[in-house]
């Protein structure tokens, strides 16, 4: 089984649109939307929801006001400024404490040291996990609650679920639509992936950001391929990116022109290659995918 993760560093380069097309071109695959706090793949890939389950994230502390004696032990020990003194209706201090759930890191230190056991430390439901069917195989996706944490944990759980499905149904490929950035959900999206497809754009920001995410990919020992989206917006910059790939031995999978058909397909809730198979961008994505399949054919089998 192979795992390919699509990343970019910079947001909005077209990861999700390209993932939707690739998921429509690959004949037998599981696709994951790992951009859990701004999930979009479900909007552009026709699917039928078949399973949902709550996402149990981390714990959060909560003070039972009746048991709080106001000793301030929690206030003094919290490293995240989550504890504050509760005010009454007239905004006068009550001498008792409360916890801001958004600031709470879920470390449990306050609950451990509370002398009266007034601090409850409960596991939170932070979102929902979904499994859907699509034309070419299952889609594993999720919705992280607003302002919730643990996106990395959620991504790891989605990937685990996808592996189970792939194993059971003998599906040879998992494609993951990664989040932007290089932080915890990105690390969770690319750890143990066989290969990364970096989707960049010919802009000063796109080039800067792709270099950081490529460094991360290298640290994590994944094979790295790259394609340029909206390549004709700045041809000189696109040439520079190709040079960069050449110089750094990154396999270049192709370039996709700016095409209004991409947004049109999104508006129709379909992938580009399904909605507009003969558009220029569609032809280019097909070529990118053909190259990526060929590149992945050269990968050594994983030991585990």
């Amino acid at each position: 089984m192979r795992e390919l993760t699509i990343i970019s560093g910079k947001g909005g380069t077209g990861k999700t649109s390209i993932t939707a097309s690739i998921a429509s071109l690959a004949e037998n695959r599981v696709v994951i939307d790992a951009d859990v706090d701004a999930a979009n793949l479900f909007l552009t890939l026709e699917h039928k929801l078949i399973e949902k389950e709550p996402f149990q994230g981390g714990h959060k502390a909560r003070i039972d006001i009746d048991s709080c004696v106001g000793c301030a032990e929690c206030l003094n020990r919290c490293q995240f400024d989550a504890v504050f003194e509760k005010l009454d209706q007239d905004k006068k201090p009550t001498g008792k404490f409360s916890i801001d759930p958004i600031s709470c890191e879920g470390c449990g230190v306050c609950a451990h040291f509370c002398p009266t056991g007034a601090i409850l430390f409960e596991r939170q439901i932070c979102g929902e996990k979904y499994i859907s069917t699509t034309a070419n195989g299952p889609m594993v996706h999720a919705r992280l609650g607003i302002a919730e944490e643990n996106s990395g944990l959620l991504v790891s759980q989605l990937r685990q679920r996808a592996r189970e499905i792939a194993k059971k149904q003998k599906i040879p490929l998992i494609i993951t639509d990664g989040p932007p950035g290089i932080g915890c959900p990105v690390i969770a999206s690319i750890s143990n992936a066989d290969a990364l497809l970096v989707v960049t754009e010919p802009t000063i920001s796109g080039m800067h950001d792709m270099q950081r995410v490529i460094r991360l990919g290298r640290q994590m020992n994944a094979a790295i391929y790259l394609c340029i989206n909206k390549a004709d917006l700045n041809i000189e910059a696109s040439e520079k990116i190709k040079e960069f790939c050449n110089h750094n031995k990154i396999k270049f999978a192709g370039e996709i022109p700016f095409d209004r058909a991409v947004v049109e397909s999104m508006k129709m809730g379909q992938s580009l290659v399904t909605y507009s198979p003969d558009s220029e961008a569609s032809k280019a994505v097909k070529l990118v995918w053909k190259n990526v399949v060929e590149f992945m054919g050269d990968l050594k089998e994983r030991l585990i």
Binding site: H59, V109, P180, G183, R212, L216, K267
Partner: protein, 292 residues
Amino acid sequence: MIITVASGKGGTGKTTVAVNLATIAAEKGSVELFDCDVEEPNAHLFVKPQNITKKEVSTMIPSVDIALCNLCQECEKICRFSAINIVAKKIMVFADMCHSCKGCLMVCPTGAISEGARQLGSVLTGYSKQGFKLTWGELRVGEAMSPPLIKKVKDEINNLYNLISIVDAPPGTSCPAITTLRDSDFALLVAEETPFGLNDLTLTVEGLKKLGVPMAIVINRAEESKGIIDDYAEHENIEILGKIPFSKEAAKICSKGLFLVEEMAEIRAIFQKIYQKIYCKIVKTENKGEIK
């Protein structure tokens, strides 16, 4: 006054709006710019700051003196993040997992644990040719946790009445974006008229309601006719402060790291209007505060 530029979806033009707005603001008064997208900071690529100073930033992780450790496992028990464990009768610290809660330090009965450090990245500052100060964070590649570094960037904000701080937020609606948006006086949402753009805008608006931050919208790469964002904004009663029309010329200018307000007169006029509207809004709210 802290004005944070946010979006939910990546690539809608947050950085473009932030740097161009800062340029306009610098012509009218005192402004500082902060880039809190520490995973992928880009504002400095446009601002090209001079006289850069760089400060390394780290977070606390436990450092164990093996000679003092009696393998009591108290640290392992309190740690919720599997960052300190007894493996084969030896205490091991998994630095990348640590959230710096100091629980292990607090429970260790023998004083075997002291404060060590893990590099988070750096906080940098420099000055634009227009004269405003830019502060930005750069997360170390391989570091998973961006919120602690975002907090360090925000620590550099001087929240004074007559100083405008424009903050460029990271994409998404989870901890990095929320850490950035907290304590903002005003959020400027950069939206794009696509189904993805609308979906993620909706999530960000819900987040801002939770945080109690007032907001308004700027539509980037706007079409001429009314679109899905107009309908949504009307429904939610959120003001649209301006629309930056789609043009390949603008896209090309941004791709080179140049300022739209310096290259295109019509876009400069749009940014001036947006800035005026924000200024009126926040000055008005501030006056209300003073009357109280």
